[in-house]
Structure formats: structure tokens, C-alpha cells
Amino acid sequence: MAERRLTLAAAVDQAVRRHGEETYPHECCGALVGRDGVVSAVVALPNTTEEGPRRRFLVRAADYRLAERRAIELGGELLGFYHSHPDHPARPSQFDLDHAWPTFAYVIVAVTAGAAAGMTVWYLKDDRSSFDEGSLHHGENSHPDTAQTVHG
């Protein structure tokens, strides 16, 4: 199967890194909005995990609904989610795998000692056995107002 591509608008790339740095040492999370493999906007979401936000993130059903709604308002689709791995490499964990949804792009940004480092993108295999790594590209900024934050 051909490697899947995901292109992040410049402002999206910055917004994801900044979000990961802001919440360090906790995990951040948010939704990726766009069309045809190009992420044009992000919706930062509150991390509602109850298991210690340094190691976990959780987007609750209500916030998921909100993200889908916001995606439509922004004229795009929900392409996937991003989250950070504080002081851990940008590779999906077993826990990520256990909780992954098909077709979504999962962008992971490693945040080491408070500074955003590597960023990767992953797609769940159809049989749920593992992730395929996609290729991440950086595009031109599409719109100055691409980063949205949802505060609960």
C-alpha cells in the first residue's frame, strides 16, 4: 500500500508544536481539520484524561462532536487528531494502538525538556494490528486564523 501523505499548513505545524510546549510536561491533544490530506486548521482540545495527563490524553465524546462540528464550520473534514509525547519519542504506543480509530491521521509531536522536537504521522492498519507511518509534509500557510483553541 502506498505511503499516505499528510501535509500540514505552516501555521498548523506551529500551532501543534506550540500546544505541545504549552502543556508540557502534560500531553496536549487536538483535532486536525482539512481536506484531501491537507490539514488547514487545528482545534486544540482539552485533555480530559483521568489517568494522569503526563502519560495520557483523552478527547471526550462531547469534544469529539464539537470537533466534527467545527470541521464542517471551517469548510473541511475531520482528518484526525494530534497529541504530544512529553519526553518520549514521537512513536505510537501500545495504548495509542488500542485506542486508535481507522482512517484518522494521528500526528504525534515529541516534546523534549519543554521544546517541541520530532513530529510524525500514523495511520491504523485496517486489521488493527499496528500503525503504518505516513509521510508528513509542510505546506504554505493557508489562512492566518488556522489555529483554534477550545477551552472547556
Binding site: 480530559t48 489517568e51 494522569g52 503526563r54 471526550r60 469529539y64 482512517t103
Partner: protein
């Protein structure tokens, strides 16, 4: 046909449609139909055990089915069912409790937003609950908001109350009017040796508060009765029946049915225990199983028949487990199921119970619509009028007996207890003839002698006396208060049990 809304990541499996139709009377049937039509969905909705994955949320209209009847939630043709992902992840599979932090971010908007928040101390205390999806912070807050009433602080009430306090219920009420006795300590683990002589409530309060000071302990030093039951039960969410007698058991059942409160039921005898959940909205009640009490005296109490000390531990903890499940709304409660535990064989059996449409209290045309006189209903006559009224023709007191023995009267004392009781204490010179043997062994007795029959407290010996009179013995006296009175008033050097 109901409409199912499909979230973005699953649309590749539904021909890119964001809404599809499926048939079924319940959510479970609807989803089964959906995965039949769109087979690719199955692996993403269900885990290997065929259960809905924890991060798959299903809503009927705007309600999460976790707070309805889960997959049994009924669906009408015009309902909209939504499959909504929770998106989760993180760096590793193990959870480091040391980094657990107070909650951040908004709470799930679902039902219990009014439940009290947890303090940092509580988050630490309940951490092993919080990391389980079936409890979690949401569930722990439900526990904190809950109120449970334990009827009795004895064998069943002890383990139940201790675990409920430890689990973090908000308020724990206890009804009891007894005093701690040495003979309680073999099983009533709320109470310790230094508590003997204190009220059970005082002892229970100290113990429970030391387990968990966050729990509000409310004590009611009273005998539960038809006059006070409804008022006592009203503020509580679940009633835990730890009683040891039939009148109170029927009273608890009927009060629960009348108030619509679930009854986490348990009972114990010797090596056998029973548990169930009665009086839920659509479930059976104790009277659906036993419409009428057994004849008085047929089923002995633990004081008469004995009980294995660890048995109430098992049953009381089952009652506490069911209580917690009811509060959390998880799992399969013991509703419509009657659990029987045999400690000797170490076996659990389960009987299916159905709600009886003719049940006098919870049936379609109930005849019991208010609390009645349960002592009378169970045929239990109020305790014999106290000492003043000794019937000298049929009864003798311990002191009188001692006087007559000292005087050298020719009396045959027949002890109708069991041999293991006889080994604990006895009246010197008595003849052991267990009640069950009396009908075949009575010819050993000389009808021309005056006979005094005696047991532990005077109940079994009264039956023996009746029997002996029925076969022609004319001079039979029952020792009032049994060996216990004898030890108290005549021979305190002997042990009591």
C-alpha cells in the same frame, strides 16, 4: 428502522455515508444489524470478546447508553443513534500513579455533573478505582454522592459497611440497637475485643471513620419497625439488608418496594449463604420468592443453629459489591437472580427469579400497600412476658431449680441441645437428649419422675416439653431462659455461647 450517525473515521466502511439505517428493537440488535450490513465496522466497534470497545460511545438521541440500559436500551423507529468516538492515547501502557494530578479540563457533560468533585486526597485514596474505566472519576463521584443504609451492624453489616466505607460512598447509615457481645466477635469484624459492652453503633462508627474519614456515618439506635422504616429509608439510594430474622426481612422488603429502593439482600446460616437484589423497578422482590414466611421456629436463627464465621464475610461483600454496581450502573446486578453459596462444598448456584404478577406487594394488584405488623405476619409472638409471669405449672426459673436441687428433690434434667453445645456448658447431672432424638428416646425417661427440660434459651425445650406431655408425661417443667439464665444466675463459672 432507526437512523445511525456514523463518525468520520468509520465512513469508509459505510460507503462514505454519514448516516445509515438499521433494524433492531435495542441498541445491541441495531448494532448487530449494522455490522452485518457493513462488516468492516465490526473490528472497530467490538473487541475480541465481542464487547463494545471502551472508546466507542453510543448515544440514543442525546443520551449515552451507559446511563440507560447499555446495549439493551430500547430503540424506536424515529430515534437517532450516534456512534461517537472517544479519542485516546498516550505514551505508555502502564500508569504511573505518582504523577496522578487533580483533574483538569471540562467534565463529561453526562448525567452526574452535580456529583461532588473529588479532593486531591480522595483522588489518591481511590486511585485503584479511578484507573478502571468502569469506575473512573465519574463513577467515584457517583459513589461520593451516594447514600447507603445498612440494616444491622452484625455479621453481614460488618464487612458490607467496611467495604462500602472504604470504597467511598458519601453517606453510610446504620440501624442497630444491640451491644457488642463476645459471641459476636467470631464474625462481626466491625467490632473488636475492647468493644465488648459498647453499643454496636459506637463501635461501628469508630471503625468506619478510621477506615475512611470522608464518609458521613449516620447511626440510628433503634429497632427497625413499621412505624419508622419508611422515614429511615427515604433519604437513601440503596438499602442493604443485614438482618437475621424474618419479621425484619419482610419489613425491609416491603418498605423497599413501597419506596422503590433497591434492596441488596443477604442471609446466612451455618455454611450456607444467599444473596440477591430485590425491589428494583422491574425486578422481583423477596415476596415473589417467598410470599409467606416459614412457620415460626422452623428455620433456626444463627444464635440457635450457628454460623461459620467467615460466611458473612463472603455474603456481606457480595451485598456491598451489588450495592456499588447499582450505584455505578455497571455490570449485571443480581436482579432476578438468587445466589446460593455453599461454603462446605465451595459452590455457587444461581436460581432465576421472576417478578410475580400476583406478588402481594410488588405485583399488578398489590394487597400490601402499607407496612403491616410483621411480628404477627411471621407468627412470632412478642417475647414471652418477662420474668414476673412464670407459669409455675409448666416453667421453672434457674434460681428455683437450684433451690430444689439443693433441697434434694428428685428431678430429671433433660438437656435437649446438641452434643457440641453440651460440651460447652451443662447443668451437672443432666441427661443429654437432643431435641431431634426425643421422639425415639423418651422411653428412657421415667414418667413418675418430675422432669425439667432445658436448652440454650428455652425455645427448643418448650417444644420438647410439649412433646413429652403429648405422650403422657404429666410433670414436665421447662427451664426458663435455658442454660444461659442458669449460667447468669446460678453458675457464672461456666462459659456462655
Amino acid at each position: 428502522m432507526a437512523k445511525i450517525l456514523i463518525p468520520t473515521p468509520l465512513r469508509p466502511y459505510t460507503d462514505k455515508l454519514d448516516a445509515v439505517e438499521a433494524t433492531g428493537a435495542t441498541v445491541g440488535e441495531l448494532l448487530a444489524d449494522l455490522t452485518r450490513k457493513h462488516a468492516g465496522l465490526k473490528a472497530h466497534l467490538y473487541n475480541e470478546q465481542g464487547k463494545l470497545r471502551s472508546f466507542v460511545n453510543v448515544y440514543v438521541n442525546d443520551d449515552d447508553i451507559r446511563y440507560l440500559q447499555k446495549e439493551q436500551t430500547p430503540v424506536q423507529a424515529d430515534d437517532t443513534v450516534s456512534i461517537i468516538p472517544s479519542v485516546a492515547g498516550g505514551v505508555e501502557a502502564t500508569i504511573d500513579s505518582r504523577v496522578r494530578l487533580p483533574l483538569e479540563g471540562p467534565r463529561d457533560p453526562q448525567p452526574d455533573r452535580d456529583a461532588p468533585a473529588l479532593t486531591n486526597e480522595e483522588i489518591k485514596r481511590y486511585s485503584r478505582h479511578l484507573i478502571m474505566p468502569e469506575v473512573g472519576v465519574e463513577g467515584q463521584r457517583k459513589l461520593k454522592a451516594s447514600k447507603v443504609l445498612c440494616i444491622g451492624a452484625g455479621g453481614l453489616g460488618s464487612p458490607a459497611a467496611m467495604y462500602l466505607a472504604a470504597a467511598g460512598v458519601g453517606a453510610l447509615g446504620i440501624v442497630d440497637f444491640d451491644v457488642v457481645d463476645f459471641s459476636n466477635l467470631q464474625r462481626q469484624i466491625l467490632h473488636g475485643t475492647p468493644d465488648v459492652g459498647r453499643t454496636k453503633l459506637a463501635s461501628a462508627r469508630d471503625r468506619l471513620q478510621s477506615i475512611n474519614p470522608n464518609v458521613e456515618i449516620r447511626t440510628y439506635e433503634t429497632a427497625l419497625s413499621s412505624k419508622n422504616a419508611l422515614e429511615l429509608f427515604a433519604p437513601y439510594d440503596v438499602i442493604l439488608d443485614g438482618t437475621d430474622n424474618f419479621p425484619t426481612r419482610y419489613l425491609v422488603n416491603d418498605a423497599c418496594v413501597l419506596l422503590g429502593k433497591p434492596n441488596a439482600y443477604g442471609s446466612i446460616f451455618r455454611f450456607e449463604g444467599q444473596a440477591s437484589v430485590f425491589a428494583t423497578k422491574d425486578g422481583p422482590c423477596y415476596r415473589c420468592l417467598y410470599p409467606e414466611p416459614p412457620p415460626p421456629g422452623l428455620v433456626p436463627s444463627c444464635a440457635e443453629g450457628g454460623v461459620l464465621g467467615v460466611l458473612p464475610g463472603v455474603i456481606g461483600v457480595i451485598q456491598a459489591t451489588e450495592t456499588i454496581k447499582l450505584i455505578l450502573g455497571v455490570g449485571e446486578p443480581l436482579i432476578g437472580r438468587f445466589m446460593i453459596y455453599d461454603a462446605l462444598k465451595m459452590r455457587f448456584r444461581e436460581l432465576t427469579l421472576r417478578k410475580d404478577p400476583d406478588c402481594p406487594v410488588c405485583g399488578t394488584h398489590p394487597t400490601v400497600t402499607h407496612l403491616i405488623d410483621y411480628e404477627q405476619f411471621c407468627g412470632v409472638t412478642p417475647a414471652a412476658p418477662e420474668p414476673s409471669a412464670v407459669n409455675s405449672a409448666t416453667e421453672i426459673t434457674a434460681v428455683e431449680l437450684k433451690l430444689r436441687l439443693d433441697r434434694g428433690d428428685a428431678l430429671t434434667i433433660v438437656d435437649v441441645r446438641e452434643v457440641n453445645e453440651y460440651q460447652i456448658n451443662r447443668i451437672a447431672g443432666s441427661l443429654l437428649m437432643p431435641l431431634g432424638d426425643v421422639p425415639k428416646r423418651y422411653p428412657e425417661l421415667n414418667p413418675s419422675h418430675e422432669i425439667v427440660v432445658q436448652c440454650k434459651m428455652g425455645v427448643r425445650s418448650a417444644k420438647a416439653a410439649d412433646f413429652l406431655r403429648s405422650v403422657g408425661f404429666t410433670r414436665v417443667l421447662n427451664l426458663k431462659g435455658g442454660i444461659l439464665d442458669w449460667v447468669d444466675k446460678v453458675d457464672p463459672s461456666q462459659p456462655k455461647y
